[in-house]
Symmetry: C3
């Protein structure tokens, strides 16, 4: 049994999902570990990790539309507005989605379903550079 770690850098383009499935897959293959457990942790509190449908881009647009209505920017109940109207709403979205994901690895690939992709979900309006800590244990 052995382990590998990597930090994956992801450029985002404002609110919405950026797929990282291929980058994760390439990294797993580079480690030589074929069976094991993959863990991803996004090192920010205004962006998330989600596993979502990877076929129809409308799914990502609809998810963002739903979240923008549920957790609107500039909500007057917030006191924490230091970085603007999308600051606190990003922290709330982060709490309602996922910061960490753990996925079994089989045959050197995450055991994703046919329609599943791994995404960084950006909650800020501006483009950001995000860091995802990745850990793989197995053999």
């Amino acid at each position: 049994m052995r382990q590998q770690m990597k930090e994956i850098l992801v450029g985002t383009r404002g609110k919405g999902l950026v797929e990282i499935t291929d980058e994760v897959l390439r990294w797993i293959r580079s480690t030589g570990i074929r069976e094991g457990l993959l863990t991803l942790h996004i090192r920010h509190t205004s962006a998330s990790l989600v596993i979502q449908e990877n076929a129809d881009p409308d799914v990502r647009a609809d998810l963002e539309r739903f979240m923008s209505r549920l957790v609107p920017d500039g909500d007057p109940i917030y006191d924490h507005t230091a970085e603007g109207p999308d600051d606190m709403s990003s922290h709330v979205r982060s709490a309602l989605t996922a910061t960490t994901l753990s996925i079994p690895v089989r045959d050197a690939a995450p055991a994703l379903g046919t329609w599943q992709g791994i995404y960084v979900y950006e909650h800020r309006r501006a483009a950001q550079s995000r860091r995802v800590a990745a850990h793989l244990i197995g053999e």
Copy 2:
């Protein structure tokens, strides 16, 4: 240290929770691993994994009632309606709940609290056959 993997098949009966605690427990016992880490990953984007109260069935009914109000089927903001009014709402519910869970294992059982059960949460209206990838590492 060693690891085991299994795919658990779960039949659902429309929107609501299906408990899988016993099946997970039986599998852990069959592996001979007594101390370690269990990871579950549901291989779908219209069903989730949740840990919820296992005593009063009203809890599961109330949770479903809340989610049906928060994320109604047929919401006019959605463009992705290929599979019907419960298609996109299922993806949103999936993003708001959990796709993966990791639970420490002690004495050959998940370290659940007294009132905790592990559930597949079905978000589609029709019965489905769901696959959960399970990984166990330990000794």
Copy 3:
């Protein structure tokens, strides 16, 4: 490769976040494991685990204000009211946030971002004693 387990006891003071980052860090250091994977699992269905901003306390107050509006106590749609108006709302909040977290460990510390802290999120009105099962694997 080796593993360690611990149960962390956390006293809460009614609805809101209680930071446990330092206690987790001290435990990791005490194990001698420097590189690996940390998993936390809260053994309750009316409290959660969240990773949130650790700088401005307004963030935690704003998050609680948002959740109190989204999932109000005493919602008339609930049948499960055995333990009072904050009973079922706590279970719903638990489903919408996280019960388990997995974080890579580097240099004997969780690979948290600069502004990230690990919190127990209490959803009940009264103070509670909460148990978090912690698992660490690595070397």
